[in-house]
């Protein structure tokens, strides 16, 4: 045990001191924080210039129909021809020209917005909604029904769907799919990144010791299995350290950014993070326009957030990270031991990568249908369960499935570590031999 501790502390210290680790520790949080901050920031920055739009209405029925918005102003021009205006467009200072043809009431394609810029969706929606409502009202009036306005108001309904998850024992939890999806996607993707990135580091480390020929010096003092285990655990700790640094500094960065950009929001950092998740999953609303449906959405998001058990999230992430890492890292270590140089690793790495890549491909469909049979099976199979189960956990997974998946993962990683240990033991002392799967199988069958 003392030797394993020595080995893992060397693995840990040399890696944590590396320039690449320090750079990643600094860049990671900046990247994460900007992913969260920038979209909000961009929507806030958007369109604070006043835009003036000229209206040329050849039907002559839309005077004062389109109301000015906060940043949108409309000029209803009576005696100007479209051609003149278009010809002198640059001198007029208008953002755009809205041309309404006289056939507008029966041809929906007869409204044209001319501009030398690309008008945004908000501007187009503002115009079309105003015109639609006006035409609708006009058409309704032709039916000559008394008190139509009152009737219409009376039949108007607004449906706001709240999702409440039933848990066993009759408890109810308010849930928000957007948040669960975002959390599922982030944790699944993070898991993928860590398994792949750290797994390759294990392989590189083993290969380095083998090609350096230091391995024989070391295994005259320790058992090969101790060396392999020390390396894997050391690198796992490097990963956990990186994760810890990222989490803490992302929270701090988001807090700082929030204080600078959105002092009015006054949310705690985690709430801020999640607010962004909601916003990216739904049409973006600027705070000024946040009328009741959006506020309701936000309220539900926070309710969901309160209901997501972060202890469970973090706990299961750690479990699946360690389980998945031992599973993959031992395989990567075996590959590093089996070959003589980097180029030979390809043929053995590919089969290891397949389940990882498959997981990331189906990740999106999993967060859309977290209860589907595919989601179930992939979260049970040990090679894909670390990623897929993490994507499902925010939605809530039945306890017996989690236990089954965890037990299988542990059983499999013990199995792969054992197998990899056998390949490793023989491989690290084998030079200049073209290794294939048949050869590896022989190594596995060697007695000590």
């Amino acid at each position: 045990m003392k030797k394993i501790a020595l080995i893992l502390s060397r693995e840990y210290i040399t890696r944590v001191r590396k320039r690449s680790f320090i750079i990643m520790s600094i860049l990671g949080p900046i990247l994460f924080a900007s992913l969260m901050i920038i979209p909000i920031w961009v929507t806030q920055m958007e369109d604070t210039d006043i835009k003036r739009i000229a209206i040329i209405d050849s039907s002559h029925i839309f005077r004062n129909v389109i109301q000015d918005g906060e940043y949108l102003k409309f000029d209803y021009l009576e005696n100007t021809s479209l051609t003149d205006l278009k010809d002198n467009f640059s001198q007029t200072g208008y953002y755009g020209i809205l041309y309404i043809s006289h056939i507008v009431s029966y041809d929906p394609n007869s409204v044209i917005l001319y501009s030398d810029k690309q008008p945004n969706l908000g501007t187009k929606l503002h115009i079309s909604r105003a015109l639609e409502n006006y035409i609708k009202d006009q058409k309704l009036q032709t039916y000559e029904i008394d008190d139509l306005d009152a009737i219409l108001r009376a039949v108007e309904t607004n449906i706001n769907i709240r999702t409440i998850k039933l848990s066993e024992g009759g408890g109810e939890k308010e849930s928000n799919t957007g948040i669960a999806m975002a959390l599922g996607y982030i944790s699944g993707f993070l898991m993928y990144m860590f398994l792949l990135f750290l797994g390759t580091q294990v392989m590189r480390g083993v290969l380095e010791e083998k090609t350096n020929r230091i391995v024989e010096i070391i295994i005259s003092s320790v058992k090969p299995f101790q060396l392999m285990l020390g390396k894997i655990v050391g690198i796992a700790l490097v990963g956990l350290t990186q994760l810890l640094i990222w989490s803490i500094s992302t929270v701090i960065l988001v807090m700082i950014a929030q204080a600078i950009f959105f002092p009015e929001l006054g949310l705690t950092p985690t709430e801020q993070v999640v607010t962004q998740d909601v916003m990216s999953a739904n049409p973006v609303q600027t705070p000024a326009e946040s009328s009741s449906p959006e506020m309701e959405e936000l309220r539900m998001a926070f309710a969901t957030l309160g209901n997501i058990n972060f202890a469970v999230m973090i706990g299961s992430f750690l479990f699946y990270f360690l389980g998945g890492f031992f599973l993959y890292a031992s395989l990567f270590a075996a590959v590093g031991a089996a070959v003589d140089n980097d180029t030979d690793t390809q043929q053995f790495i590919f089969p290891i990568l397949i389940p990882l890549i498959l997981s990331i491909i189906i990740l999106f469909s999993i967060i859309n249908t977290p209860g589907s049979p595919i989601a179930f099976w992939f979260s049970i199979i040990p090679f894909t369960s670390p990623i897929i189960m993490m994507a499902r956990i925010p939605f809530g997974v039945p306890m017996e499935q989690v236990i089954l998946s965890m037990v299988l993962l542990v059983a499999f990683f013990i199995g792969t570590v054992w197998l990899a240990g056998k390949i490793y033991r023989t491989g690290i002392l084998m030079y200049g031999k073209k290794v294939n799967y048949k050869e590896l199988w022989k190594w596995i069958r060697y007695k000590t």
């Binding site: 020595l6 040399t14 350096n212 020929r213 230091i214 010096i217 070391i218 005259s220 320790v222």
Partner: protein, 309 residues
């Protein structure tokens, strides 16, 4: 007293038997040469002694007792293929390797400082290994091998890759270590260093032990019974007195001195030959040609292979 014994050690790989019933005895305090052609099984045997691999059958004794894992602390091993972590600092790395051999951090640092000063590589303590010349790396590896004062040292092809100056330094250190009571096993192809250093040798080929024992006894055993005589006089008269027990192999004449190589056909003592020659010529020098380790090596291996096939 033997420090290490292997008894009937067998190690099989899939297509070959690397070691076939090999028993060796390494006397304590000796320098023990492990000889054999490439692929004979030397490195496999060394790895078994180091408990890197385990034999399929057979027994290993360290100081007369069955070997236990903690015996690795009493062994220092310098492998044939040796390297260091290139990106790690020299001092740090040496401490790490010493601690793996059971030394404390403090102890390792103190001893390393002594050796680094002795080999004049102290200025490189904080350099990365990749900045070191190969010779300096070898010095570091050697220091790390002996740092924990093991009672048994194993050097696999220690002189390969060393320049003559470092090789000489290594030889001197080996002799010093022996003087301090360590036992040294080393495998080599360099027969010159075997003659110079070894007290005992064993020769293996194709996984089988061919000879083992005291190097002086072996050399006597493989004596060729060839005498080299230099004299002033006539070669014809010498030829005449050599009876059926002796054979004149060849002779050279340089100025007035003739040097003849005479083989004794039966085990007849040198005095008999001398008594035959003295009346005929004036003897300048007379000595028996002892076989070099090189000759013995080639002879034993060739005979061994002939017997096998």
């Amino acid at each position: 007293m033997d420090i290490f014994n292997t008894k009937n050690v067998v190690k099989r790989f899939v297509n070959q038997t690397a070691l076939d019933n090999v028993s060796i005895s390494v006397p304590e305090g000796s320098i023990y040469g492990l000889l054999g052609p490439n692929g004979a099984g030397k490195t496999t045997l060394i790895r078994i002694i180091n408990q890197i691999t385990a034999p399929d059958s057979g027994e290993l004794l360290f100081s007369g007792k069955k070997i236990v894992p903690s015996d690795v602390f009493k062994i220092g091993y310098l492998p044939e293929e040796r390297g260091l972590y290139k990106k790690m600092k020299v001092g740090e790395q040496a401490i790490y390797l010493a601690r793996l051999k059971g030394l404390s951090n403090k102890e390792a640092t103190a001893r390393l400082k002594f050796w680094f000063n002795k080999f004049e590589i102290m200025p490189w303590w904080n350099k990365k290994v990749q900045e070191l010349s190969k010779g300096m790396q070898q010095k570091v590896q050697f220091i790390v091998t002996i740092l924990h004062k093991p009672s048994l040292l194993i050097f696999d092809e220690p002189f390969s890759g060393f320049d003559p100056i470092n090789a000489d330094m290594l030889k001197n250190e080996i002799i010093t270590l022996k003087g301090e009571g360590s036992t040294i096993i080393f495998s080599t192809h360099d027969m010159g260093s075997v003659e110079e250093l070894c007290d005992y040798i064993t020769l293996i080929d194709n996984g089988k032990k061919l000879i083992e024992g005291d190097i002086h006894k072996i050399r006597k055993e493989y004596r060729s019974n060839i005498f080299k005589v230099s004299f002033a006089g006539d070669i014809a008269s010498v030829q005449k007195v050599l009876n059926q027990h002796f054979d004149l192999l060849d002779h050279t004449t340089e100025e007035d001195v003739v040097t003849a190589r005479i083989k004794s056909l039966k085990n007849i003592t040198d005095n008999t030959l001398l008594s035959l020659l003295i009346p005929e010529v004036k003897i300048i020098s007379f000595n028996e040609e002892t076989p070099s380790m090189n000759d013995i090596f080639i002879r034993v291996v060739t005979e061994g292979r002939k017997n096998n096939s």
